[in-house]
Subunit: 193 residues, 2 copies
C-alpha cells in the first residue's frame, strides 16, 4: 500500500498499472486482489488512509501549537511555523500530495472519493477559520479581510508550493512560502509598535 502510494504520486492513478504496483510491492497478483476487490478499491482505501493521516496531523499540530501559547494569534503563527520546520527538516524531496494527484484526474474517481478529499480540505478551512475568528475578536485590526479565504490560503500555499517545488526541484520553496503566509498573518493582525 505504501508502494502503491509512492508509485501513484509519481505516475498518477491512471498512469499506474496494477502490475507496476504488485511488482513494486513484491507480491503476486493473487495477493493483490485478495486484499483489494479492484484497482478502484485500492484507490479508495489509499485516499481514505491518506485523509485520516492528514486529519490526524492537522489536529496534532494544532494541539501542539495551542500548548505553546495562550494567545490565539501566537498559536496560529506557531501552527504555521511548525509545518515550516517540519518541511525544512526533510532531506528527501517532498513526495507530493495524494489529494492534488487525484484531483488532477478527477474524472477517474467517483464522487465518494472526491468527497473524502473535500472533507479533509474543509477541515483545514474550519480549524484555521476558528482560530482567525478568535483572533479577530481579540485584536481590533483595521484591515477587513475575508477570514474564510484567509483560512483557505494555508492549504492553497501548501498545494501551490508542492507544485512549484516539484517542477523546480527546490524543496526549500515550501518552507519559504509558509514563511510568507506567516508574515502575512503577522502584518494583518500583529499590533504595530
Amino acid at each position: 500500500m505504501n508502494a502503491a502510494e509512492s508509485t501513484i504520486l509519481d505516475r498518477g492513478f491512471g498512469g499506474t498499472t496494477v502490475n507496476a504496483v504488485i511488482e513494486q510491492a513484491d507480491v503476486s497478483k493473487g495477493a493483490f486482489f485478495h486484499h483489494f476487490s479492484s484497482k478502484a478499491e485500492l484507490g479508495r482505501q489509499l485516499v481514505q488512509r491518506y485523509a485520516d493521516k492528514d486529519t490526524q496531523h492537522l489536529e496534532q499540530t494544532l494541539v501542539k501549537a495551542e500548548g505553546l501559547s495562550d494567545d490565539p494569534l501566537q498559536q496560529l503563527l506557531i501552527f504555521v511555523k511548525l509545518f515550516e520546520q517540519e518541511i525544512e527538516s526533510l532531506e528527501e524531496p517532498f513526495p507530493g500530495c495524494l489529494f492534488a494527484s487525484y484531483l488532477q484526474q478527477s474524472e477517474l474517481f467517483d464522487d465518494n472519493i472526491l468527497d473524502i478529499i473535500r472533507e479533509s480540505m474543509l477541515l483545514w478551512r474550519t480549524r484555521v477559520l476558528e482560530k482567525l475568528k478568535t483572533i479577530e475578536k481579540r485584536y481590533s485590526h483595521h484591515n477587513d479581510v475575508d477570514l474564510e479565504s484567509l483560512a483557505d490560503m494555508l492549504m492553497v500555499i501548501f498545494e501551490g508550493s508542492f507544485v512549484l517545488s516539484q517542477s523546480l526541484n527546490e524543496n526549500k520553496i515550501i518552507a519559504q512560502q509558509l514563511a510568507h503566509y506567516h508574515n502575512y498573518l503577522k502584518l494583518l493582525f500583529e499590533e504595530k509598535p
Copy 2:
C-alpha cells in the same frame, strides 16, 4: 488538440487513451497518427503550445499593467488585479492547469517536457522579481522579505487555488487568493499614512 487538452485536464495524461481523444475530437485513428507520431508526441506538442500561450499571456498582461501606471508598485498591483478580474469574469469552472497535471505524473514524461514547464514557471519568477527589485529600490521598506520567493508566491497562489477550487467547486477561490497576494504586497511595500 483542444479536445485532447480538455480530456487530459480531466483524466490526466496516463488516464487518457488515444481512443478517447480521437472520439472526442471526432477524427479517425489514422488521422491522429498522421498528425502525431505517437501519444508522447501529442503530449509534447500540447505542453509546448500551452507554454507558449502562457508566456504570451504573462508578457501581455505585464505590458498592459505597465501602461496603466508609472509606479512599479502600482504596476505590480495592477498586474495581479488584472488576473483577478480575468478569473472573476469566467463563468465556467476553471479547467485546470496543464503544467500541474503533467507534474502530478512526472514519471510519465521525459526531461525535455518537464524542462518546458520549468522554463515557463521560471519566467514568472523572473518577471515578477524584476518588478520587485525595482520596487525595493524606490521604496525604503523596513520589512526584509526574500524577493525571489515573494515572486514565486504568485505562481504558488495560482496553482494552489486551482487545486482548491477544483476540490471545493468554488471558482471564486482563485480570485480571493489573488486578492490576498495583492493585499500582502500592499502591506509589505505601501507607504503607511
